[in-house]
């Protein structure tokens, strides 16, 4: 049999219609009585199976009259390219051409939406088995129907490019489907061998390419509804401030003014157009209750190694005694980071005789609906959440509390309302990547390899207090913030004594998931330290790492990736033409990655010329888009590593605009990126986040070789500026 989890475990229902067929499946439940160990393993390594919303039968496929298959995706497309991979999987198992498959994000009213989120780099990995099984089953259903409609034997029929053929007769899938009154659901057929796929494993172009190159209105903020009005919402600029009241200084006479609406901690102006709403907004004076003006010092006081909730997340061998001879200790830090996705958040909300509809960019349509249901005191069945293409996700669309504001405004106005964030609102009401502090300690053995390694990491919330149920469950079970833990444990199993300790603190504002979560900062701390120890031991940093890695399983795969990166990137400890190389590796969700970077300093500025990235993501369903994710991870990771920093200033989060919030631009992007893919597993593994891990450490390790200085604080350019000053 093809797979362990057969589709027959799900109950099939079929919705007929004129030339349209919906295949519906009841979702499976992800966790039952999760044991501590299981969750811990999951959090560290294994990609979980896809978990459907599990509430009711829902729509997966539609066969349309023009003989295409429309797939209602439970996962959203936020740039990661998963719609294309889904189309490849469907085309291969349903015997279609790529242009015969269309993918849209499922609406909560009709489709299956993921019970958790689109995130964790798990879209393709999670749907790999169930989606191919569904597609193969659908193909078999069509063949069986064609057999009964034509009176032929199933064995004499073949299916190719959307047609079932018997001798010189053939019928389109749409034609077959249109004549079916009651579908019979067969057992899931055997899935094909990997090597016999025509589309899977090939670098086919993205299915959303045309829409994105020609400016089609596919994003959340492109949504509109006849008769809608626009909202500008005033929310507190000062952290922790509470809304008291407003005074109008002539808002009523502003052009396009519709009304003022007050909410729990906001006041909004509705107007005929968005610029009019923004102008009218300036005619409100708002009074806030400000209990405290938080400062950077307050945060640093709260968030330190040795403060907050202590959890040992890894323990092997004996602990390091600080007084022991030969123990080296270094401290590292990373700042608060903003998501800064280019499409601001927002939502279109309207009521009609069916109930409430909300159209928005969301990574959690199911959770958005539940939250709307609670806040609006409506049944979930009365609410339809319509996810669009996302103008960037990166974890920011896991919090969609603004959907509630849009719904409340639509209710108050009795009209459709479109609410979009200003950029200042976006920066001040982000769910930030928390600042982190790290202490790493270690000791060499007599041969000059690591004998002990200990990582203490202090972080604000990542998965703790998040809307995502899984994370909450895990946090409650473990007392550990599994998001902050990503990359926090020591991946070198050959170091006899190693441990990792988390120090967790909840900050006075929301911090949450940011692409790769704790991985970037944790890897920066550990891999910078390992590099420093290699220098101390006078060893090649590549061999210094592989020496403490086993050959089996995850560790063996990591070892291979490290060796491969050193080879492909031609890593050398010596430097030429003012350029030095830096090496670092990381492991995230069962996916090892290693980077070799070539760096110079020109007029005080860090320049990254070339990055070689080796990734073992198992089966690359679309190798071109895996490469694109590696390139994007490297550049977004560089941006965060070199430049980005949010701070508190006079109680307000700052900066509030691009530019002052410094990010990587075209001129900072490496001129050369080499991506080399290793297939160390026979299933697809997560791709969108793991290759972001090593970049900060790799750059820091190169700077160490260029200057003799160890950068210990992200953003690295700021750290270097201080050293050069």
């Amino acid at each position: 049999m093809a797979g362990k989890k057969k589709i027959s475990r799900r109950k099939f229902l079929v919705r007929g219609g004129l030339g349209t067929v919906g295949v519906m499946a009841v979702g499976t439940v992800l966790f039952r009585n999760p044991l501590r160990r299981t969750i811990m393993d999951f959090a560290e390594t294994a990609p979980p199976m896809y978990s459907g919303s599990g509430t009711e039968p829902q729509l997966w496929f539609e066969l349309t009259k023009d003989n295409k298959v429309l797939f209602h995706s439970p996962k959203v497309e936020m740039g990661q390219g998963s719609f294309t991979s889904f189309a490849q999987m469907i085309a291969d198992e349903m015997h279609l051409r790529m242009d015969q498959v269309e993918v849209i994000a499922a609406e909560t009213a009709t489709g299956v939406v993921d019970g958790l989120s689109t995130g964790g780099s798990l879209s393709v990995a999670g749907l790999w088995q169930p989606l191919r099984e569904l597609a193969a089953t659908m193909r078999m259903m069509l063949i069986k129907e064609a057999a009964s409609q034509s009176g032929q034997e199933v064995s004499s029929l073949t299916a190719e490019e959307g047609y079932v053929t018997a001798g010189n007769q053939s019928w389109s899938y749409a034609e077959i489907a249109s004549k079916v009154e009651k579908w019979e659901v067969p057992h899931t057929p055997e899935l094909k061998e990997l090597k016999s796929y025509k589309h899977i494993g090939k670098p086919v172009p993205r299915v959303d390419l045309d829409a994105k190159v020609f400016g089609d209105p596919i994003f959340g903020l492109d949504a509109q509804k006849e008769g809608m009005v626009h909202a500008a919402v005033i929310r507190p600029s000062v952290v922790g401030a509470k809304y008291k009241s407003y005074t109008s200084t002539g808002v009523e006479s502003m052009p396009g003014f519709v009304q003022v609406v007050e909410g729990e901690n906001w006041v909004a102006v509705l107007a005929d157009s968005y610029p009019e709403a923004l102008m009218a907004e300036t005619k409100l004076e708002v009074e806030w209750d400000i209990p405290k003006k938080w400062s950077e010092e307050d945060l640093q006081d709260m968030l330190q190694v040795g403060k907050g909730k202590r959890m040992i997340t890894q323990k092997e061998g004996s602990a390091l005694d600080d007084d022991e001879e030969g123990v080296v200790s270094l401290s590292f830090s990373s700042p608060m980071g903003a998501h800064a996705q280019i499409e601001p958040n927002g939502a279109l909300a309207y009521f009609d005789d069916k109930g409430l509809t909300v159209v928005l960019s969301t990574q959690v349509p199911g959770i958005t609906r539940t939250q709307l249901s609670d806040a609006m005191d409506m049944k979930e069945e009365q609410i339809n959440v319509v996810p669009t293409f996302l103008g960037g996700g990166f974890g920011r669309r896991l919090d969609t509390s603004h959907a509630i504001i849009a719904a409340q405004l639509a209710k108050a106005a009795g009209k459709p309302v479109k609410y979009q964030f200003s950029r200042k609102e976006e920066f001040q009401h982000d769910t930030f990547r928390p600042p982190t502090y790290h202490t790493v300690k270690g000791k060499l053995n007599a041969e000059g390899y690591l004998d002990s390694l200990e990582h203490h990491y202090a972080s604000g919330d990542v998965s703790a207090n998040s809307a995502i149920a899984l994370a909450n469950t895990a946090t409650k079970i473990l007392g550990t913030d599994i998001g902050a833990m990503r990359g926090g444990n020591v991946m070198y199993n050959g170091i006899p004594n190693h441990r990792a300790v988390q120090w967790h603190t909840t900050l006075p504002f929301a911090t949450s998931w940011w692409r790769s979560l704790g991985l970037l900062a944790n890897t920066f701390a550990i891999e910078s330290f390992v590099d420093e120890m290699a220098l101390k031991a006078k060893k090649n940093p590549v061999e210094f790492r592989t020496q403490v890695l086993g050959d089996e399983g995850m560790h063996g795969r990591l070892k291979k990736v490290i060796e491969r990166a050193a080879e492909v990137g031609a890593y050398s400890d010596t430097f030429t033409n003012g350029r030095a190389m830096g090496f670092a590796a990381s492991t995230d969700t069962n996916v090892p990655s290693a980077h070799v970077v070539e760096v110079s300093i020109e007029e005080g500025q860090i320049v990254v010329h070339k990055v070689t990235c080796v990734l073992d993501c198992g089966v690359a369903v679309n190798p071109d888009q895996v490469r694109a994710q590696c390139e994007g991870s490297i550049i977004m990771g560089m941006s965060a590593s070199l430049f980005e920093r949010m701070t508190l200033r006079d109680g307000e989060l700052f900066p509030t605009i691009y530019g002052p919030y410094r990010m990587a631009l075209m001129k900072h992007a490496p001129k050369e990126i080499v991506v080399d893919l290793v297939q160390g597993a026979d299933i697809p593994l997560p791709v969108g986040e793991p290759p972001l891990g090593p970049i900060a450490a790799a750059i820091g390790n190169a700077i160490r070789r260029l200057t003799g200085e160890r950068l210990t604080d992200i953003p690295l350019q700021e750290n270097l500026d201080q050293l050069l000053a």
Binding site: G79, G215, F219, Y274, P275, G391, M663, M666, K667, I673
Partner: protein, 158 residues
């Protein structure tokens, strides 16, 4: 106040209460051309880039009254799916977009750059293409810009 201009080859007259209304909102919400994006409202990210008389302009901070009598081009008028502009063709060939939101602004900025500098060097690109892309597609964009220059030059030679 009535303001008239040509947009993507068509004459348009719009009525706005405030002549300082940013051109972006006129294009998006009155003329319903949604390809031009709102990113920051302060001309800091370039998602709203379009052409006014062939110049790349950040339309979120460009008063509609300055478009009076002008030729405005948006991504919808740059090329079509049937007949793409060289920049769009190159963007497709290099599979540049990820989330795609910032891409129209980048393509418009690139098309304007190629009008001024038909064969831009890497340094020209670094100095002129200063929009923000969060997905980090700069690496492929650079390749696409060089390819677009080649495509445009070949088509003028023919």
């Amino acid at each position: 106040m009535k303001i008239s201009f040509t947009i993507n080859g068509q004459d348009q007259t719009v009525e706005v209460a405030d002549p300082y209304t940013p051109l972006l909102w006129v294009v998006r919400d009155i003329l319903d051309l949604k390809g031009t994006k709102f990113g920051c409202g302060k001309a800091a990210c370039g998602a709203c880039t379009l052409h006014v008389n062939g110049e790349a302009v950040r339309s979120c901070s460009y008063a509609v009254k300055f478009a009076e009598g002008a030729q405005v081009t948006t991504i919808e008028g740059l090329g079509t799916k049937e007949n793409p502009h060289p920049v769009q063709q190159a963007w497709k060939d290099q599979v540049v977009p990820q989330c795609g939101y910032c891409q129209p602004g980048f393509m418009m900025a690139t098309a304007a750059l190629l009008e001024k500098i038909p064969n831009p060097t890497d340094e020209d690109i670094d100095q002129n293409i200063i929009n923000v892309c969060r997905c980090g597609t700069y690496y492929r964009m650079r390749k696409a810009i060089h390819q677009a220059a080649e495509l445009a030059n070949n088509s003028t030679k023919e």
